[in-house]
Each structure stands twice: as structure tokens, then as C-alpha cells.
Symmetry: C2
Subunit: 346 residues, 2 copies
DNA sequence: TGCATAATTTTACGCGCGTAAAGTTTTTGT
DNA sequence: ACAAAAACTTTACGCGCGTAAAATTATGCA
């Protein structure tokens, strides 16, 4: 509660006056409360809750070379997967005493460039960037990373940023393929022909590898479609493939959960029962553990990201990078393995 | 491309020098390019793409009483419904030449208060706020609205903010009830006992009204659960209700799509076929047209928000409010009707 | 061509805070 | 209790830009 009878505090000088401390010391306090004597700190904090003064952000940041802002850029926020990861990251950034600035590229190359552009203007201490992937403008990102300490996450672009934190796609695919083959059946791999996300390519390669290791013939089913509406693309693609009888396998391993959600919708529409039991025409498994994957019908068997580890490590790596002056000796890559979540779909 | 041989442009004065225009005129240009003579504008823009100078945001905002920032606060960004609406709003704000600042309250009262707090420090020109609802701290929001021009959207809190833009819950329920009763069957209403969102209460009231108007007995099925994980709450609640045989109706009208998604998952798990055809045990309909509602099994019949209208009107109303000095003569309320989307679930 | 008007330049101050330097007070260690 | 160290105060400047006032220049129109 602020005292109502007193004059309003307009700036740090006013606040210094009413708290009985000099302005430079007040300034010091706000930059690091521990840097002033305990008794002084107490007096400041006492005044602070009488008058709810706070330094003007713009004046502060004008005089700092480095702000306390941390940029977080995700490719598509309407995808709950990214919303969820952004939520984790936001909380950790706040906890560390920084201010997160969340931006979504909405699946658009121009928007991604615009986001980086407006971030640069904010002179952030660092940026956590999950790039679009294939449709990213490499030169834009490269230039940005030269100017701002940047850690990439979720999808890697070779050589960009000082570090990458993501999931180990080989582990994802290895676990699902292992599970499927052990429980009977050889999976085909269902994916978009031209995936935006580089993880998709790694998963395809890992799938082929995993199949060949087991002496099985890999079968990749590639469907058409552009953009970020993966569910609809998956649904359409599934209908196409199924109506043409091109699916020469009884278990479908989808590149990611959103495609799988569309695939399951198509199966349902066609009266195809999915699951393990008798009377089931197909089994379906996937990757990501999308927030909605447990509510599909049937619930989706999938390889789950370690959300906690990825977001925690991303944030920690960024802070190390910042403390290290914005550069690492060599680019760091950290990959986390998946853990398999067995549900009813396979 | 910036000329590489020249000295770097550190500030507006440097840029004024290289462009051959005085600094005050440059300043004027950045505040409104139309306010300078066309020939001057041309010279500035010519210099602008030789040297990619841009005014320091912090210095600019320090000297403006009003920044060009627009705050957007949503209760739960991991809900694709809000992510989608935020996307619409963001784009319109950018188009209007403002800078959107998107914040999610993550379902937490403290976070909502924190968001408003940090927004206030940014001295935004205005704020679009979708409050948590029941769990919002009224006094915090009230105080915020006194300081910052605020337009509420999605969920209304009486008297808060200068305007509210949302959907007409009566229209939503009226349309679903009308459709269900016309196509055979009297719906019961499936909802959370203590919904966070005020729309839920309006929908229940509208449901009862709609049923009584038709001479039918309203039956409300209230389930327990707290928080924002509506799908899981709906799924659990559906299992409880179904296992106890408490569902004395053949059509279930869910308060919102996320509950319905959970309800459908439970039905699938129990082997209950949902839909219109023969062999279907239940029909399920709902409200919101959640981005995922077309991918449920079966696809969800639902009353759709007019996303475009709500977001467009919210933004327009906020800009009117800003131009009007932050106050309206009286609080404005704009409600948009739903349009029914008939899919396979009912 | 001349004159009213609009646009621009020049000059100067202020915004709120970071921060450096020099002087003063308080704390710490013995 | 005393000197050294630490913390604080005072003073002063700078950050990059908005903006006002007065002087100057450019433009449009008769």
C-alpha cells in the first residue's frame, strides 16, 4: 500500500528523497539488492512498500548495454506442443530474474525474420530460438546469431547459434520401432513429403536405419501438403493413402503426433478400428507426446519428449552463454532421449 | 544493405548527418512518415536502406508518455483456442503499426497479477485482457483498468475495463439445443461444477432457459475438477458419470469443446459409439469450435465462435478507446452470435 | 514574380537513470 | 580505541531521443 497523503513518486530522485538514501545507492540496490548494506537494504525496502516505486524500464535499459530481456521465439504457438514448452521456459526465465519476451513466427518466414528484427531492437541479453526449419531464412538467422547470444532449441540448423538443445530423434524412432516390432508387425513410416521441421528428416533416416538393422524392409509413405496444419494434412493424406490401398503394412508409425491425430481421424471416418485388440485393422504410433495425444481415439502410443529437460537445459545453456560473454569455444549440442508411452493405439 | 565502408550509425544524430536532414525532422519522420514532405521522405528512406538505422526503442519510449505497445493477456496460452485468438489479434495490432506484447497467465491468479504488473511498467497504449474469470483477483484487475486503457475480451467481468467483446453465450446454446431437439433427443448439459470461466455459467443458464422454453426438463450434469486441464477433467467426469449410469439422456451437450474432447475419449475407452447413425449409444455436441474439434472421433458438432469478428472488434475497440483518451462515456459490450457446425458427433 | 504558407533547420532543454570521481561516514578487525 | 576498509553521499556527466521556439528556407498560388 502506498501512502496516500504524500506526493507521488515520479522518479528515482523522489524515491531517494522519501527513503532517505542517496539516488546512486538506490540505483545500486535495484541492480543488485545484495550489493548494499543490510541496514540500507532494509530502509529501502521499507520505503518500497510505503511507496510502490519502480524504476522506469526504458530509462534503465537505455543506459544498460545489456537488458534483462530474454527473447523466446517459437515457430507456431498455436501448436500446443510449443505453447507448452514456451510455458516451461517462461517460468524458468522469470525465476532467474529475467523478463521473457515470447514471440511466435506463426509458421511464416517473414514473421520469423520480423520477430528477430524486433528482438534485436530490444537488445536482449539472449534469445532462445526454435526456428521454423526448412522455411527459415538461413542468412537472416545467421546474421541475428552474430549479433545476439542465441541458443537454438527443438529444431537444429547446422552451425547456427552457439548451442542447440533438442531431442534425440534416433532415440525416439528406435524406441517406437523396437516396441512395434517386438509386439508384432513391421511399421511403415507416415510423413509429409516436404516437412518443414528438420527433425522429420532425422526421424525418417532413423526409421530406415532401425528397420534395416532388424532385417526389415523400410517403407516410407510420404504425403503431400504444405504449411503447419499437420492434423488436416495427415487426415487428407491418410484418406488418400487408404483409399488407394497404398498402405502395405498393419502398423503405421507417424513422424509426429499431429499427423497421427489426423491419421486417426481419417481411420475413424473410414470405420477402421485402430489398436491392438482383435477387430483392429491397424496399429498407429507416433512421436512427440503432444498434449492432446492422450485424448485421441484410441489414445496414442508415442515417444515422449523430455519437456522438462529440454526447457531447463535450454535456459541454463543460455545463461551460461550470457555469462560467457555470448560465445562458446565450440557449438554445444545436447540431445535428450525419448521415453516410450504405451497407450491403446499400438 | 548497409554501406560497409562508412562509419557505423550510432544514433539519430549520426543518421541525420549522413542523410543530410536535420535530426528533429528525422524524429518527425519516424513518428509519422506522412508528416514530412515527400521529397524529404524520399531522401530519408534512401538513406534508410543504405544504413539500416532504427531509433533506440528505449530512448523513444522514455520520452513518449504513451508507447506504441499493446498488451495482450490470455488466461492459458497452451489452450489452442487462446493461441489462435492471440494470433489473430497480434496480426491486427502489428498491421495498425503497434507492437503486441503477448502474455499468458497460465491459469494462475498470481501470474495474471504479475502480467498486469509488468505490463503497467511498459506504459502500454492499451491492453486487451482475457481474464482468468472466477479465479481472477478483481481488485488487481480493477486497479489496472484505472491506470491503463483496457478492453476485456472472451470472458467478461462486470464493470471492469471500458469495453467487453465476446461471444453471445445464449446464441451458442440456443443453436445447439435447437439443433439437437429438432434432430431428435433432449440434451443434458455436461459441465464442471466450479467452472473458472464465466461463460460457463451463462451457458448453463441459457441451457436451462432453452429447455424450459421448449417444455423440456433441463438436466445439468456437473462434474468435479479444478484447473485448466479440461480434457482430463471431462474424461474423468465422463467415466464417473457413465459408470454410475447417471446419464439419463441420449444426447450430451458439453459446456465447451475441451470438456467434450475428454468426454469423447471416455466414450471411446468404454466402447460407447458416439454419433447419429444406428449403433450409436450417444450423441455429443458442444461449444467453441476448438481448433481440434474437427479431429475428434467422431468429429464434434459444435457452435463456433466468430474468431475474426471477436478479434477484429476487440482490436478496433481498443484503438477507439485509445483515440478517445482511454475512456468511454459508458462501458461497451459487444457480443457475437455463434454459427453452428454440424459434424458427425450429433 | 511576389507573397503567404508550409516545411525545415538551429538551438536548447528535458526525460529517468547509469555511473564515475571525490569526499564523508560507518563498519570492521585487532 | 584506532586505522583501514567498506559503504555511502555529493556532484556531475552522458545515454538517445522528444519537442518547443525562433530563424531560415522551400513551396504553392495568384
Amino acid at each position: 500500500m502506498s501512502a496516500m497523503d504524500e506526493q507521488p513518486i515520479r522518479n528515482m530522485e523522489d524515491f531517494a528523497a522519501v527513503s532517505g538514501i542517496s539516488r546512486p545507492t538506490i540505483s545500486k540496490y535495484f541492480n543488485d539488492p545484495e550489493s548494499v548494506r543490510a541496514s540500507t537494504r532494509a530502509r529501502i525496502e521499507q520505503a518500497l512498500d510505503r511507496y510502490d516505486y519502480r524504476p522506469n524500464i526504458y530509462a534503465v535499459n537505455q543506459n544498460r548495454r545489456l537488458t534483462k530481456n530474454i527473447g523466446i521465439v517459437v515457430p507456431y504457438l498455436a501448436d500446443p506442443f510449443f505453447a507448452e514448452i514456451a510455458r516451461y521456459i517462461e517460468m524458468m526465465v522469470i525465476e532467474a530474474g529475467f523478463r521473457p519476451i515470447l514471440l511466435s513466427s506463426h509458421g511464416s518466414t517473414a514473421q520469423e525474420a520480423g520477430n528477430l528484427d524486433s528482438l534485436k531492437a530490444l537488445k536482449p541479453a539472449g534469445v532462445l530460438l526454435a526456428p521454423l526449419g526448412r522455411t527459415s531464412d538461413r542468412s537472416v538467422i545467421e546474421k541475428f546469431c552474430r549479433d545476439v547470444p542465441t541458443v537454438l532449441f527443438d529444431s537444429n540448423i547446422d552451425g547456427m547459434g552457439e548451442a542447440f538443445i533438442g531431442s534425440d530423434n534416433v532415440s525416439f524412432v528406435e524406441q517406437t520401432v523396437e516396441y512395434i516390432t517386438k509386439t508384432g508387425g513391421a511399421p511403415c513410416f507416415f510423413e509429409m513429403r516436404t516437412p518443414v521441421n528438420p527433425n522429420a528428416n532425422k526421424r525418417r533416416v532413423a526409421y530406415i536405419e532401425a528397420m534395416e538393422t532388424r532385417g526389415l524392409e523400410p517403407r516410407v509413405v510420404a504425403i503431400d501438403g504444405d504449411g503447419w496444419e499437420f492434423e488436416e494434412i495427415g487426415r487428407q493424406g491418410a484418406h488418400d493413402v487408404l483409399s488407394r490401398g497404398e498402405l502395405s503394412c498393419d502398423t503405421v508409425l507417424c513422424s509426429n503426433d499431429r499427423l497421427a491425430i489426423g491419421f486417426l481421424a481419417a481411420c475413424y471416418e473410414r470405420g477402421l478400428r485402430v489398436g491392438n485388440g482383435p477387430g483392429c485393422a491397424l496399429r498407429v504410433a507416433s512421436h512427440d507426446d503432444h498434449p492432446f495425444s492422450r485424448f485421441t481415439c484410441p489414445a496414442l502410443t508415442t515417444a515422449a519428449h523430455d519437456y522438462d529437460a529440454v526447457s531447463k537445459t535450454s535456459v541454463e545453456t543460455l545463461f551460461q552463454l550470457i555469462e560467457n560473454g555470448g560465445r562458446f569455444d565450440k557449438r554445444r549440442e545436447t540431445l535428450f532421449p525419448a521415453h516410450l508411452i504405451i497407450r491403446a493405439s499400438a
